[in-house]
């Protein structure tokens, strides 16, 4: 203990106020536990402040401009003007509303809030260093701790985020003056979402990617739809190249890449956005001091109750491993809080959905056909193209499809892949279907509103059983 520390006690200490941490803290408090939530930065974590929410706000705003600009076939002619600074102001308003909402909810539920950086002293004590001079520190003795420290963007050698022309995703989301030319390193989901945003702002975007395609992890026919749209937006792709260095060149920069043969290419740009993935934040907490094991990548291993190798310490969200998804973090937070409260909670989801907010959107849940086969199922597939959907055509967005993977014997839904308009919303129905052990018939026999995009889900289920009406049966 540092001299001058004030030591207080709490039943549950939650470190990190992102979607894993604040949800855990609220649920713990709802269960009658004295709960303290500490965060060194901002309520809502990466998701609300530097990730999901601001990126989706910008995606929506730029979509409005892009759609208006491209509505001539609907008889609408417009030439929207984008003021990036005002767009940022609006985005900041959205973020502020949400973060202050989180703070209010925490307080209303009786969660004690502390700003500062937590470090474990041992398995029942943490020291909280308050930010700023003269703020001092304090110690908290806890009965249980929930680590929800999240993740940060991975940095690549030679590209320091501290350097002005090098952007992390966080920097890119705060930009008030779009560059003329942007080089994006990485064609994963963050790289693709932001490339689309900047392309729609009118920025000249080039993407370099080490692998040989966009969105690794998604099936070819899924990512192909997104790639085609990106091509239409004028985004240039260069695959099989890794960024190696950048140098200033007049007003702009030149980024050098290397392919596997060592052959170099150079790209002129104003800024370079590095979007090559995220890594867990755990070292600042000094988990080892509490005996919590951390793997070589910085992840904390947990069991199906979010418990670490130390009985009274739990880990949730990005720091607890892939997939790094806010909704997974929240679920884990709830489980951890309930387990601490003595409830029989567990992480036993059949599937966790994931969405990419590219244009068009991608959303997946459960198994792909190949994964189902690998797992020993004999998969049955149903597919419905959005070009056969009345609603999709009437919105002018008819690229993509809904695909459902079911098992052959009883027709239980195992997974789904959707690429197309509102995929991120449509996936919810199939996630529920998987969770409930629903069959294709359950989905197909549920009456869906017409005309909606959701009908495509029903039609895909019908297609799997060769009963599709609005598309040819496979």
């Amino acid at each position: 203990m540092v001299v001058g520390d004030v030591t207080t006690g709490t039943e549950v200490l939650v470190v990190g106020a992102g979607p894993g941490g604040y949800v855990a803290a609220i649920r713990a408090a709802q269960n009658g536990l004295d709960t303290t939530l500490v965060d060194r930065d901002a309520y809502g974590g990466t998701c609300l402040n530097y990730g999901c929410i601001p990126s989706k706000a910008l995606i929506s705003a730029t979509d409005v401009a892009h759609d208006a600009r491209n509505a001539e076939e609907m008889g609408v002619y417009a030439d929207p003007l984008i003021r990036a600074d005002e767009m940022q102001e609006w985005k900041a308003g959205v973020v502020d509303q949400l973060t202050s909402g989180v703070e209010k909810l925490c307080k209303a539920n009786g969660v004690n809030l502390i700003e500062g950086e937590a470090t474990f002293v041992d398995d029942s004590t943490a020291r909280i260093a308050h930010g700023g001079e003269g703020q001092g520190s304090e110690s908290i003795e806890f009965e249980h701790a929930i680590v929800a420290t999240g993740s940060r963007p991975i940095q690549i050698p030679g590209f320091e985020y501290a350097d002005d022309p090098v952007w992390s995703s966080r920097d890119a989301l705060d930009v008030e003056e779009p560059p003329e030319k942007l080089l994006v390193v990485g064609a994963g989901y963050i790289g693709m979402e932001l490339s689309t945003v900047f392309a729609k702002m009118g920025v000249d975007v080039t993407v370099v990617e080490m692998l040989d395609g966009i969105l690794p992890g998604y099936e070819d026919d899924v990512s192909r739809v997104v790639k085609k749209r990106a091509d239409d937006l004028g985004i240039d792709f260069n695959f099989g190249e890794a960024a190696s260095e950048w140098v200033e060149d007049g007003d702009g920069i030149v980024v050098t890449t290397e392919d596997e043969d060592g052959e170099e290419s150079t790209y002129d740009a104003d800024k370079v956005l590095v979007a090559v993935g995220r890594q867990p934040v755990s070292e600042s907490l000094d988990p080892e001091a509490a005996g919590v094991e951390v793997d070589e990548h910085g992840f904390i291993a947990t069991d199906d109750q979010a418990r670490t190798n130390v009985d009274n310490i739990y880990a949730v969200g990005d720091v607890a491993g892939e997939p790094m998804l806010a909704h997974k973090a929240s679920k884990e937070g709830i489980v951890a809080a309930e387990v601490i409260a003595g409830e029989p909670a567990a992480l036993d989801q059949q599937a966790i959905p994931a969405a990419v907010f590219t244009d068009p959107e991608i959303a997946t849940v459960g198994m792909t056909e190949a994964e189902a086969e690998e797992a020993g199922f004999e998969p049955k597939i149903g597919q419905f193209p959005f070009r056969a959907s009345g609603r999709a055509l009437s919105t002018g967005e008819s690229e993509g499809f809904v695909r459902i993977v079911a098992e052959q014997e009883a027709d239980f839904v195992l997974g789904a892949q959707i690429v197309g308009p509102e995929a991120s919303e449509l996936i919810a129905e199939l996630t529920l279907a998987i969770e409930m052990g629903a069959t294709l018939e359950d989905v197909a026999s549920t009456v869906h509103t017409h005309p909606t995009l959701a009908e495509a889900v029903m039609e895909a289920a019908e297609n799997a059983n060769d009963e599709a009406i609005h598309t040819l049966n496979r």
Binding site: P344, A345, G376, F377, F412
Partner: protein, 496 residues
């Protein structure tokens, strides 16, 4: 040589467990496929368990008298060389120590299961999975009753209840601090479930009992909250007078711990309350406490019936049929039901409709060693006397030796119980819920009747008709009985 396991199969009807009544084989016996190796009594009937393999019995996993949950392995077989050879070829490293073979069998079983639902995938909604966690049930062990084997909360609960009874122990769910009392009372309740005789004491806060039972408890100096019981009313423990007396006799008022079986010695004997007996009990309680019973008594004069039967008996015997009165009663009852369909009905409380049945499936209560069973004679109106007599005889004998199938005891629309076979005249039969009426037959005897102002001896059959007074009125009961009486008095009318 490979080992194959046999699990107690799902015999349908939502049955979750069965009592292993007897083993017909021992370890080391050679069995062939289809050979019956065990008898298992479920809630409904005695089920024969056939061997699925040619081989020798390797291990029996249950004792006679033990309750076995559906899906539990009850027997394993060493099976023939061919299969054994295959198994060895597939898994060469499992050859060797005999002990390994069980593990291998387990692996095979697991693999077989895995083939059905790969990766241990379970198709169950979150609520069912949560309940499984609450009850400490491994959901991968639960057999789902839904389409394709989807697991419901009820399946999880049934699995848990079966396992609990199988263990003969109280709920093993970890008890959180402060739940000690609840756990204690759960234990008492589990004890009571396992045996009819009261053992131990309960310590409830609330106990329901009728005033007379409360008065008796006072007289006997018994704390009614300490009397173990598994009966409940509206979720609260309910103590009957019988329970109370048994508890008092066992010295329960001193709240002493249960006496050991040896101490109890000849004073009392414990008879398991389960299987058919428990099903009867549950059914009776459900019926009695659901349907308000009213019993209508009357007597049929049946001299003509006695004569007619006497006259036909020999002819029937020549045809190999033992013509009983029951066949006539069935016909007379159906004639009555046709005139008064309200007695051939069922009250659907959920839908708020009375379902009148235009078919006549008559249950006949049969006393068996295991207790009351009710085989059902289907479509009585379409069958002749001889056919009915044969069918009754066949069903009754199979009910007695418990080889009757559960499906043969279902689908009844009205029931006849013949307590007269044991003597006596009138009784209050309990309706075979959800049917709405039952008729009880007393003994056919010559009794004095008044004929034209003179007391004469006549053959009479006492009738006791119990009705669900929610559905049937007294007048209808009386009219129906009169019709049955008419047909029994003049059986030739049945020919019309």
């Amino acid at each position: 040589m490979a080992v194959k396991e046999f699990k107690l199969p799902d015999v349908g009807e939502g049955i979750a467990e069965g009592e292993l009544v007897s083993w017909l084989v021992s370890v080391g016996d050679t069995v062939s496929e289809g050979e019956i190796v065990a008898e298992v009594e479920t809630d409904k009937a005695l089920v024969e368990v056939p061997s699925r393999y040619d081989g020798t019995v390797k291990e029996l996993f249950a004792e006679e008298g033990q309750m076995v949950p559906v899906g539990d392995v009850i027997i394993s077989f060493d099976v023939g060389d061919a299969e054994g050879g295959d198994a060895a070829a597939e898994a060469p490293d499992t050859e060797g120590e005999p002990g390994d073979s069980v593990d291998e069998a387990k692996t095979e079983t697991e693999e077989a299961a895995a083939a059905e639902t790969p990766e241990g995938r379970v198709f169950a909604p979150p609520a069912a999975r949560r309940l499984a966690r609450e009850l400490g049930v491994d959901i991968t062990d639960v057999d789902g009753s839904g389409p394709g084997g989807r697991i419901s909360e009820a399946d999880v609960q049934a699995h848990h209840d079966a396992a609990e009874e199988h263990d003969g122990t109280a709920d093993e769910t970890p008890v959180t601090p402060g739940e000690g009392e609840a756990a204690e009372s759960t234990g008492a309740s589990a004890d009571a479930t396992a045996g009819a005789a009261p053992s131990g004491t309960a310590s409830r806060e609330t106990t329901l009992a009728v005033p007379a039972t409360r008065a008796l408890a006072k007289d006997l100096g018994v704390d009614i909250d300490a009397v173990p019981t598994e009966e409940t009313r509206e979720g609260e423990a309910f103590v009957t007078e019988e329970r109370l007396r048994a508890f008092a006799e066992s010295g329960g008022e001193t709240a002493e711990p249960a006496t050991s079986a040896a101490d109890e010695g000849a004073r009392e004997e414990t008879v398991p309350y389960r299987g058919v007996r428990r099903t009867i009990g549950d059914q009776m309680a459900a019926s009695k406490y659901t349907a308000p019973h009213v019993t209508h008594h009357d007597t049929a004069e049946i001299d003509q019936l006695v004569e007619t039967r006497e006259g036909l008996k020999e002819t029937a015997e020549e045809k190999g049929t033992r013509l009983t009165y029951m066949a006539f009663v069935l016909k007379a009852v159906v004639a009555g039901l046709k005139e008064y369909p309200i007695l051939n009905s069922e009250l659907d409380e959920e839908e708020e409709v009375i379902r009148l049945k235009n078919y006549y499936n008559i249950g006949i209560a049969v006393a068996t060693d295991a207790g009351l069973m009710v085989p059902v004679v289907k479509n009585v109106d379409e069958k002749g006397l001889l056919e009915l007599a044969d069918e009754i005889s066949d069903l009754a004998s199979r009910a007695r030796d418990r080889s009757i199938k559960p499906s043969e005891m279902q689908g009844g629309t009205f029931t006849i119980t013949n307590f007269g076979a044991f003597g006596g005249e009138y009784a209050t039969p309990i309706i075979n819920y959800p049917e709405t009426a039952i008729i009880g037959l007393g003994a056919i005897e010559q009794r004095p009747v008044v004929d034209d102002g003179e007391v004469v001896a006549a053959h009479t059959l006492p009738l006791s008709l119990a009705i669900d007074h929610r559905v049937i009125d007294g007048a209808e009961a009386a009219q129906f009985t009169n019709t049955v009486k008419e047909y029994l008095a003049e059986p030739t009318k049945l020919l019309l």
